[in-house]
Symmetry: C2
Subunit: 216 residues, 2 copies
């Protein structure tokens, strides 16, 4: 029984890693679509985000079946409950990346990114892609300590998110409302994406150390 259970836990882990890697691809395509006004890439990202959602739901069903069959307690139970939460975060991350692609698609053939904010969004995109890659590493090898790096990168994303508003709300901002709306929403999506990475890393670190930082 224990052996079957270990196999099932490994299956859950493998699927979480697959979803995390799929979210990485979605964010890579969505960011490039957004920064380069590439409508074909935007379409790919949007389609992948939909597939990602059903992959997350399938994983949830698997976790519930394992809970029913194995009645795990203690750490095993925590792992499975955490898997449900990580799956929810990864599903949202895919959806947020899809929203970023949708902005690019909507403005095509124009760009959604005004010149004055291009370096900001390039850095945000780079950080978000880096963050979701770290999630895959964490899920593969739960005893690595990436929590500090992830928190620092998330703090930088928050800073960039606030700086977007500083630019948009300054007297020098002369772009029209279309740009204002696009950059406001895109910045929010990049920022929420990074928040979910922090949530996931908190859960992984909880499983490793037994300390649930959310509850501190």
């Amino acid at each position: 029984m224990r052996e079957v259970f270990q196999t099932e836990l490994t299956d859950v882990q493998t699927r979480l890693i697959e979803i995390s890697e799929s979210v990485t691809h979605i964010m890579e395509k969505a960011s490039e679509a957004f920064l380069k006004s590439d409508v074909a890439l935007a379409d790919e990202a949007i389609a992948l985000a939909e597939a990602n959602e059903s992959r997350a739901l399938t994983l949830d069903e698997l976790v519930i079946r394992i809970l029913a069959r194995q009645s795990p307690v203690a750490r095993d139970l925590r792992i499975l409950v955490s898997a449900l939460r990580m799956s929810a975060s990864l599903e949202r991350m895919g959806a947020l990346a899809g929203h970023i692609a949708a902005i690019a698609r909507y403005r095509f053939p124009g760009s959604a990114v005004p010149a004055s904010l291009r370096p900001t969004f390039e850095e945000m995109a780079k950080l978000d892609i880096d963050l979701v890659r770290r999630v895959s590493v964490l899920l593969k090898n739960t005893d690595v300590d990436l929590a500090r790096t992830i928190q620092a990168e998330d703090a930088r994303v928050d800073e960039l998110h606030r700086s977007v508003f500083d630019v948009v709300l300054a007297d020098e901002w002369k772009e029209n409302a279309v740009f204002t709306v696009d950059v406001t929403l895109a910045s929010r999506y990049f920022e929420r994406f990074a928040d979910h990475v922090v949530d996931i890393s908190t859960k992984v670190s909880y499983l490793t150390t037994g300390t649930w930082h959310d509850l501190d």
Copy 2:
């Protein structure tokens, strides 16, 4: 054992209802703060949203303890997993209402709502408050059929959300970027709030009918 379990399930239900009622208060205060530029109400909403988050986390811990002690299967297991998901939705709804209050606070003593969009936001706020009240009714009495009403109200919120962009992106829109940013984000928060109500009602209806519409 079964009797203890029923008591525990009732406790979970009671806490979900309490959280849902707390979210109703947060949204009532946040909407009024936003529409009337009332900074005292905004502060109350923000403080309540923080308390709401820890209430949701406490409920999650309770659910995990019940899962560990009772090893439920079938419908009982589904109820508890759904409780975790509903708790996550209610936590986010409180946070989103808190964000709406934060916009009001940020613009005080000015208003975040331009005259041209006041009726739209009044209707969105009314719908969101109505939707979260329906969640409390659903949680108290899971066999009521509110799914259709909730879906119709959510569709109307989506429509209003899109109409905000129609107004902001029209040539007639002469407000400055501060208003554009505020209404873009506020509209997004109202819209996401309603989405979570749909998610919760799907879960309740699944528990009643056995059909998980998400998976259709």
